[in-house]
Amino acid sequence: MDRETREVICILCPVGCRITVEIEDGEISKIENAGCKRGRDYAEQEIKSPVRDFFTTVRVKDGKIPVVSVRSTAPIPKRMLMRCASELARIVVPAPVRIGDVIVKNIMNLGVDIVATKSVEKA
């Protein structure tokens, strides 16, 4: 039997519980030291399929500033962070950009869009 213990620091509130999760043969067998139900759920998600907010910048052509900040409309799987970042590193958008503009629709087929988080005027 394959057994592993992992620690998850809960980020949901300032207490920051250090939750231990025991995994047996790829399945969660025990969650300990979680101060509340939300923390337990968070730890479970962190082990099963962790997700993260994704944000970076994208190059802008002829803008007042050379990059525009962007984010994903919903969190994406953690393992996809770097791949999405590389994908966006290849893109250049023309100015002007408006806050909320969709920069990439359905990035890497994850079902989320990449949108601008600020406006960049034409230079």
């Binding site: 620091i9 993260r52 970076t56 910048t57 500033i65 984010r71 962070l81 970042a85 806050i99 600020k118």
Partner: protein, 414 residues
């Protein structure tokens, strides 16, 4: 020289200043002017492209630019006047402001109320006295953030971060996401300086955290080549033989923020040595009548949501002052921090109205009791230096105060 008389002048167009200006205008004051030294409004937020802003204030998870854009839009909607690229040179105790910009030249402004919202600035290498060479490649975290997220440069490819404050942790993740190699985060304290949730930035990218370590030498002639770090003993002195030299081309400093109070000092406003900011009463009024202060110039906050609220309070009260609706406090009770309590804001309360005090502790503690005066005791499950502690004084609790007292201590029992 341009001479003008206004109702309210707000110095600083960041989160605090914009909230103050909006609240003042909404309270019915006509002429409100915001003075901002940067080319755009928004303060630090346009470069904070990560999420986590607005969770309290808007109940939404926004990025910095999204958060502040809502306030900038409101400033435009309310037709609040502002001047960017305008440097305030001096504030007089008679609420006279000297400022300068390229368009107007010298400005001599006077107002019935002033709101100080200058924010804070980063501590730099000089303040730390790190021995070593003076090569290129040493940046404060905020400068690196601006270079990356507004100006579009990657300031380094192999990066060491000194200080585990929130900006340092966030920049560690940001560098990693941009493909730079992050060699580690070095922290002198035995615990991280930032919020726990930001430690995820390191864990996600396998970035080592060196607690109880200091940078003891910077190597490199033209560009940073390496940084030596040393383990510290209990008293904070480097232990001989416990050094480690880390190869890197960039050193990022995230070693604390200092409220920016040169103007306040110049005007003779009383400062609190524990916060580095003006002493304020529960109306956010400073020791000079009609001069209010809010946000990070008062004390360094960890959440912008609280900065906004402090700005709104200062703006509202400045408006009341102008409209003649702000009576002096019935009583002025000074709060004095003791023991594990580093500071308390506001420093002066009346004891007549419910309010929330903001406080920071020196050391982490659990199952602690915050004691205000002798009789008020508030339980806190956990307190940590990086997290502001809120102390809610309800009308019920305030009844316990001795009305004769001019000074109350705020302390902690474990």
């Amino acid at each position: 020289m341009i001479k003008r008389k206004l109702d309210i002048i707000v110095i600083g167009g960041g989160a605090a200043g914009l909230a103050a200006a909006i609240a003042a205008k909404e309270s019915g004051v006509n002429s409100v002017l915001v003075l901002e030294r940067n080319p755009e409004l928004g303060g630090i937020l346009p470069q904070c492209i990560h999420t986590g802003f607005g969770l309290h204030y808007f109940k939404e998870n926004l990025t910095g630019p999204e958060y502040i854009s809502r306030f900038i839009s409101r400033v435009h909607d309310l037709e609040i006047e502002y001047k960017v690229e305008t440097m305030v040179l001096e504030l007089s105790p008679r609420r006279e402001v000297w400022a300068v910009n390229q368009h107007d030249g010298l400005l001599n402004l006077k107002a019935d109320a002033i709101v100080l919202a200058m924010g804070c600035r980063e501590r730099s290498r000089g303040a730390l006295c790190i021995p070593g060479m003076r090569p290129a490649g040493i940046f404060t975290a905020g400068t690196a953030q601006r270079l990356m997220d507004i100006e579009g440069f990657l300031p380094g490819r192999k990066v060491l971060i000194l200080g585990s404050g929130d900006v340092g942790l966030i920049m560690a993740r940001r560098f990693a996401m941009e493909g730079a190699e992050v060699m580690g985060v070095v922290e002198v304290a035995p615990y991280p300086g930032g919020l726990d949730r930001n430690l995820q930035c390191l864990r996600d990218f396998g970035i080592p955290l060196y607690l109880r370590h200091a940078a003891t030498f910077i190597h490199g002639s033209d560009r940073v080549e390496a940084v030596t770090i040393s383990r510290l003993d209990e008293s904070g002195k480097p232990i001989a033989g416990e050094e480690k030299t880390i190869e890197c081309d960039t050193l990022i400093l995230s070693v604390g923020l200092i409220p920016e109070n040169e103007l306040s000092k110049g005007a003779g406003i009383q400062l609190d040595p524990n916060t580095g900011g003006p002493v304020v009463d529960e109306n956010m009024e400073t020791s000079i009548e009609g001069v209010f202060a809010c946000g990070n110039v008062v004390h360094v906050h960890d959440l912008v949501d609280h900065v906004t609220q402090s700005g709104e309070a200062a703006g509202k009260n400045a408006a009341k002052k102008v409209l003649g609706e702000l009576p002096p406090l019935e009583r002025r009770i000074h709060l004095r921090p003791e023991g594990n309590i580093r500071y308390v804001v506001p420093q002066i309360i009346s004891g007549e109205r419910p309010l929330t005090l903001f406080s920071r502790v020196k050391k982490p503690a659990s199952n602690a009791k915050i004691i205000v005066g002798e009789k008020i005791s508030i339980h806190k499950r956990i307190v940590k230096p990086p997290e502001l502690v809120t102390i809610k004084l309800t009308s019920e609790l305030l009844k316990k105060l001795n009305p004769e007292k001019k000074e109350l201590t705020v302390t902690m029992e474990e």
